[in-house]
């Protein structure tokens, strides 16, 4: 269980570079990319919470999050393309 806790802490730390990139990232592409990264971290956190809280409903969250993350990435890519930053 301690391994899961440490892993959750590492994932929380992995969100900080994405925050940095969204704040200062030179182009809009970096910001869209950071959103993609946040989605990946969220999926990993939901998977670990299924073990930590012993509730497999979080795996449904992972399944839905995968699809929503893909759609969000495609939409952000089109937005970056249109914007011509």
């Amino acid at each position: 269980m301690i391994v899961i806790d440490i892993a959750l802490g590492v994932l929380a730390l992995a969100l900080l570079p994405a925050l940095w990139r969204i704040a200062v990232g030179p182009t809009d592409a970096d910001r869209a990319l950071s959103a993609d990264h946040v989605f990946f971290v969220f999926l990993a956190v939901a998977g670990l919470l299924a073990i930590r809280l012993e509730d497999s409903v979080f795996l449904d969250v992972v399944l839905v999050g995968t699809l929503v993350g893909f759609l969000a990435t495609i939409t952000l890519a089109r937005l970056v393309d249109r914007r011509r930053s």
Binding site: A14, L33, G47, S56, G69, T73
Partner: protein, 131 residues
């Protein structure tokens, strides 16, 4: 604790540690890499593999049929959709004119789809039509 349970815990926690480590490496790449394209490569490849390994570790630690269906479907979807999303983001960032790192050696597209340049009439008709 039987030998099988020890093996299961070892494999499950090992997969989770590996996967979370890969997501951490992706975060480091997001912080340190010089241009949008190398950051994209770090996030798309390392984070995808990291998420998939983490989910497989969760499945090993808590094995059941319903979990197996959900996790394997999620992993398969991840492997199918993540390269498509990464490609779309890379293409969009190139077309929106995000700069290459100073040390870049090759630019195979040669700025052909850069911002502010209309595509030539003969080629790239679909791009011109869509805009």
């Amino acid at each position: 604790m039987s030998a099988l349970a020890i093996l299961q815990a070892l494999a499950g926690y090992g997969l989770i540690v590996l996967g979370v480590g890969l997501v951490g490496v992706a975060a480091l790449g997001l912080l340190r890499f010089p241009d949008a394209y190398s950051r994209l490569s770090a996030v798309t490849k390392a984070a995808t593999l990291g998420v998939c390994l983490t989910l497989l570790g969760v499945l090993v630690l808590d094995p059941s049929w319903s979990n197996a269906v959900k996790v394997l479907l999620a992993v398969a979807l991840q492997f199918l959709t993540s390269p498509v999303g990464g490609f779309a983001l890379g293409r969009a960032s190139y077309r929106s004119g995000s700069p290459l790192a100073p040390g870049s050696l090759y630019d195979e597209l040669g700025g052909r789809q850069r911002a502010g340049q209309a595509p030539e009439p003969g080629q790239g008709g679909e791009d011109g039509a869509r805009r």
